[in-house]
Subunit: 437 residues, 2 copies
Amino acid sequence: MSAYPELEARFRRISVLRDGARVLNWDQSVMMPPGGAAARAEQIAALEVLLHELTTNPRMEELLDEAEAGRGGLDGWQDANLAEMRRRWRHANAVPADLVEAYSKACSASEKVWRKARPENDFAGMLPHLREVLRLTREVGAAKGAAFDCSAYEGLADLYEPDLRVAEIDPVFDDYAAFLPDFLDDVLARQAMATAPHPPEGPFPIAIQRELCRRMAEAVGIDFEAARLDETLHPFSGGVPEDSRITTRYEEDDFAQGMMGVLHESGHAMYEIGRPADWRYQPVGRARGMILHESQSLIVEMQVCRSPEFLGWAAPVIAEAFAKEGPAFEAENLYRLATRVERSLIRVDADEVTYPAHVILRYRLELAMIGDELDPAELPAAWNDGLEALLGIRPPDDRLGCLQDIHWYSGAWGYFPTYTLGAMTAAQLFDAAKRDD
Amino acid sequence: MSAYPELEARFRRISVLRDGARVLNWDQSVMMPPGGAAARAEQIAALEVLLHELTTNPRMEELLDEAEAGRGGLDGWQDANLAEMRRRWRHANAVPADLVEAYSKACSASEKVWRKARPENDFAGMLPHLREVLRLTREVGAAKGAAFDCSAYEGLADLYEPDLRVAEIDPVFDDYAAFLPDFLDDVLARQAMATAPHPPEGPFPIAIQRELCRRMAEAVGIDFEAARLDETLHPFSGGVPEDSRITTRYEEDDFAQGMMGVLHESGHAMYEIGRPADWRYQPVGRARGMILHESQSLIVEMQVCRSPEFLGWAAPVIAEAFAKEGPAFEAENLYRLATRVERSLIRVDADEVTYPAHVILRYRLELAMIGDELDPAELPAAWNDGLEALLGIRPPDDRLGCLQDIHWYSGAWGYFPTYTLGAMTAAQLFDAAKRDD
């Protein structure tokens, strides 16, 4: 077999096994009883190490070199695929196998502690795990920075978004941070002049929310012959294109949170479902970066589903599902609620205007921690000060502060910027699409 | 590293990855939407091939040879472990990797078709898949027969029960088949002389059955901090010792079926939970064969939970759960129902007396198909004739006949004898335990 086809065969296998690992991760978050945590961490670590070995097998480098030398014979897709193969190889090859295993296990253990520490507001109990994950993250980052000729932080972020650089992020985020305070004051002042929207009064039974959310997901394209909708503490979209695993969490007194969560994750799932089938298992057929991925979830959640048009359709569906009526359930009122701006503490519940402040805060803090300029013990204070500077409010506890997101505790460092860069991309893409209509 | 510790490290890894594959299998049966079938088949096949490669890696044979040469330095557990390693290696090494992959995919595809063909009573639609699975099964069997110096059928059965031979099975099964007709007549005549037990009248809401079954599983030792109970078409016990995945199916008009299913699978899970922790990931710490495994599920289901003592405890619990009262829910009546004998069509619902007839039928048919003495097209007729000869009743259709069990359609050939040999073992073990009390 010549080099390029053999590379396709090898990357296909890696991709299929990676899909299997995604099922193990989904099960861990959604189905697994607590007793299974240690054994599952072993399983996931074993698979990670194995995927790492398959990618860094010495034969792989020979094949990449050989295929690159014969590049002229490849078509456009194959050529792009080869470039993505090299990128994946460089990511894997940068990190030694024993570090991959130690990192995978430390992240699993830490994530498990976080699932208890967050509801219990126990940052002190979380701290040793955060330190250990950070220590290993910095090791991984240093190795990747060396491989990609960038900083440790950029080496980590590169996994989520190729070639993303601090020098590109900073001006965008600094600009927004400078723009926000006055703009937010204006928005809030303008909002205060109108009469307040009517809050829909619950309770909204979870069983009905589940059915309603299935219907909403179907409305944006999800087919439940090839998808599931389940519940988890930290919602995500997992699975594979033929078997999407959407998760959310429901609050009995607020149906919008679960519903918007489902619509957001449905956007992620729809992007995966739309990947080119011919390249399903090749690197070029996978999402290249999370900015575009996030833009697709936000086009659904923010651009489409918070529009008067969508809510005009959804309002009577919602009212009927909960057997409610009155002004709180009218489209106009739901639209005002869905686009309402306020200073708030929780990122995933934040509105479009204040959301970037949450991301900018996290970006600056993780950059400082990776750069060894912020000790994790100082994180709660730095978080609270930072949020106050950006949004003018201060979390009363760490549950509503630095314990709220899973990312750092599960080893996803360098991921946060993609949320806001994705939101900006979504707004631009949707605007262009509307003008093109 | 000397040979034996390196073997332990390699088999530990294989065992951990095998545990991961068990989660994929559980998800496939219990959670996966239909659209995911093809992708999941790819994932499971990739993992099977990989496990096969890890086991048949040329270094493995060298290490086994070397460790066996230095056997004197090993303690009893290590020595037994080494023997089990060799056995696993021989099983894997007998079958080429491309056959492993083709077989895994054919079985996944066939099992998927069976899940529709069974309720639709569509043997004709099933036949091409059965032919393909049988063709590959015979190839695997021939390879294993050569490796273990036995027949193809015995080579297949060896995976489920080491060293099981047709010459040992036949006399036991022939003896039972000869004994059964007169004995069954006697039992039924004696039963007919007593007044009939009262049938408990439903409906028995599924939600209540679920809760009741959790309580029953807990009563025999299951801890739901380390287990789940779910529903599937063909109940099984999956997962790992720290995370048991028990499955059952419920009928709204008969609570006993779901309950006895849960108790049976809980017995399997308890056996896994009781495996020696120090050898958790080594071949010697895994179940050696399915006869003993089955004996443990049947000690729970047949010996313990169909006893007057257990039902004396369970009867008021059951009555209270369903808010029922009257003679149908008294312990004495439930005991008579639980031990009632009748000529029936479905193996998994059969009583202790007639159950072996179902197994003997399947054993004889699979032996004939592997030996190329029975064409799969003739299976429905051979099945119906065989059941009539053994039990005096004839299935009205294939749904209640040769389509009822998943085994052949999912590639588990040579498994059936372990059920009845396990039942006999359970009766002997429990009898010995009682005498020892």
